[in-house]
């Protein structure tokens, strides 16, 4: 029996600071688009899972599973809410993958959502900071950007990564987002602007960092057998893997590699019976530009220490050998924390269907997404194939 899980519908709201919409409005929008795209009657959906990091702190609202099912008019189906910090979206995809694979659910709606702009910039950063070990990092003054700055500084020290290298993911991702109508920032940014932007935590600058974003993304997923009933262009999840690491960054042997990413990527590729060279397009978690550099190495596109060089050589641009973050990534598409992991899968599904328009990677057949929680304490990898 074929037992693959298919993605049959994708949807997103336009990401940005959506001052005129609340959490319900745009979550519903993303879910509706996914359902319309799938052509599935609402009555066929028998389960719903939503990824969200911190609606309780951002908007004083929890219990998002029930909220989403209620607003969507989906009746009394079971609704699950999952949290894994910035990897909440990836965790939602994986929960649905496991539920369908086990046979417990047949057709599921997967959502990821975050409303971040109802609090001020400082409070938004504080809320993100609880993804690290707050008692032993945050309480002593280590902000979330500061922790990524530790990685960046150490990467520069160990491998000679430069400030130019740190700016390259931003430049590339903004250029890609210029062709993504759902992205928060659709204008290119020249490298000198990135390198002169305000300092957050040396050597990391404002334009090395993903923005505060409101947004939601959605998928409709079902078993392979059922997929044929709804669509001619299903995209299959060939593998799903998730690994953990220490919550605090200072407890890791190395802070220039993310072990959870290395092992979850290896595990997922093995499960999919593929090698890295088979993958045509990637979404890698670039909450900070150093994150994309480290992940470029940890998934195996570049050797350890040569992530910056790979960017310099254009290997990860659209048209390069291993295009990364064709959507614009977290930096330019925007990073509504809980939505990001789902939005990555939306982008890759569009790429594999050939629906990515001006940012299309020619003939893309296989794709891989890495979604990170905290400073790498959670890593969730999905491998997709058309």
């Amino acid at each position: 029996m074929s037992n693959r899980v298919a993605i049959i519908g994708v949807g997103m709201c336009k990401f940005g600071e959506l001052w005129d919409q609340n959490l319900k409005d745009f979550t519903l929008e993303a879910g509706m688009y996914a359902i319309f795209d799938a052509g599935v009657p609402g009555s066929d959906i028998d389960g719903m899972v939503i990824g969200n990091m911190s609606a309780g702190r951002f908007t004083n609202q929890e219990h998002l599973g029930a909220l989403a099912v209620d607003m969507g008019g989906l009746g009394d189906i079971p609704a699950y809410s999952v949290e894994a910090a910035c990897a909440s979206g990836g965790a939602a995809v994986r929960q649905a993958y496991m539920a369908i694979k086990s046979g417990e659910h047949n057709v599921m709606l997967v959502l990821g959502s975050e409303k971040m702009s109802d609090v001020n910039q400082t409070e938004a950063m504080n809320t993100i900071s609880v993804a690290s070990d707050w008692e032993w990092e945050g309480m002593f003054g280590a902000t979330f950007p500061a922790l990524y700055a530790f990685m960046a500084r150490r990467h520069m020290y160990e491998y000679g990564t430069t400030e130019e290298h740190l700016a390259l993911p931003t430049v590339k991702n903004h250029a890609n987002a210029a062709h993504n109508p759902w992205a928060q920032f659709q204008s290119p940014v020249p490298i000198d602007v990135v390198m002169k932007s305000g300092m957050l935590a040396d050597p990391l600058r404002v334009l090395h960092s993903a923005p505060v974003t409101d947004g939601a993304a959605g998928l409709v997923m079902c078993s392979e057998e059922l997929a044929k009933k709804y669509t001619d262009t299903p995209v299959f999840i060939e593998a799903s893997d998730q690994r953990s690491d220490t919550l605090a960054l200072h407890d890791r042997k190395s802070i220039t590699t993310m072990n959870a990413v290395v092992s979850s990527t290896k595990g997922a590729l093995m499960e999919a019976n593929l090698e890295l060279k088979d993958i045509d397009v990637f979404e890698l978690h670039d909450s900070f530009s150093i994150g994309e550099i480290i992940l470029t190495e940890d998934v195996g596109i570049a050797k350890k220490g040569e992530g910056g060089k790979a960017l310099e050589e254009g290997i990860t641009e659209i048209g390069g050998k291993f295009p990364v973050n064709t959507s614009g990534g977290l930096k330019a598409r925007g990073h509504p924390v809980g939505a990001t992991g789902v939005a990555q899968i939306v982008e890759l599904a569009l790429q594999l269907r050939g629906d990515a328009e001006k940012r299309q990677v020619d003939g893309a057949e296989k794709a891989l997404a890495v979604n990170i929680g905290g400073t790498g304490a959670t890593s969730i990898v999905h491998v997709l194939r058309r």
Binding site: F140, A142, P145, R153, M199, P203, L249
Partner: protein, 150 residues
């Protein structure tokens, strides 16, 4: 109910005031903050309390220029990962230093400082920060071999 922050700091005072962690007698690994279980040995582990000497080396660092409300008055401040001589790392501020002199590999020692206030009228938390060894003690700028007390 405790005032904001009181109980959460008070119950960790030993660790925060004296850098008390633990050491697994089975595998010889030092932990800070103290761990309830040795992740190397699990049920075979034997964790004993251990007070760190408070000497170490800067492993990585940054200068924070956008901080939460509780830290705004201290900006810009240096925060670092410090590798203690016992081999474990922790995260703390570096003080008594000119920002441009901070570098990876710099020898530092712990000092007792105010960490933050838990909002207006909240309690004041004290604990460890680190400062360059040279400035205070005249220690030579070279790492002390592991296992050797000074």
């Amino acid at each position: 109910m405790a005032e904001q922050g009181v109980a959460s700091v008070w119950r960790r005072i030993k660790a925060i005031y004296t850098i008390q962690g633990n050491m697994c007698e089975t595998c010889g690994t030092y932990y800070f903050p103290p761990r309830p279980v040795c992740p190397e040995c699990r049920r075979k582990g034997k964790l004993e309390l251990y007070t760190f000497k408070g000497l170490g080396t800067i492993y990585s660092f940054t200068v924070v220029r956008q901080a939460p409300e509780d830290f705004k008055r201290q900006m810009p401040y240096v925060i670092a990962q410090i590798e203690l001589d016992e081999g474990t790392r922790l995260t703390a501020q570096i003080v008594n230093v000119d920002i441009k002199d901070v570098k990876i590999g710099m020898r530092v020692r712990s000092c007792f400082r105010k960490i933050k206030e838990f909002g207006p009228g909240g309690i004041i938390a004290y604990g460890y920060k680190f400062e360059p060894t040279m400035k205070v003690t005249g220690h030579e700028e070279k790492p002390i071999p592991k296992g050797k007390s000074q």
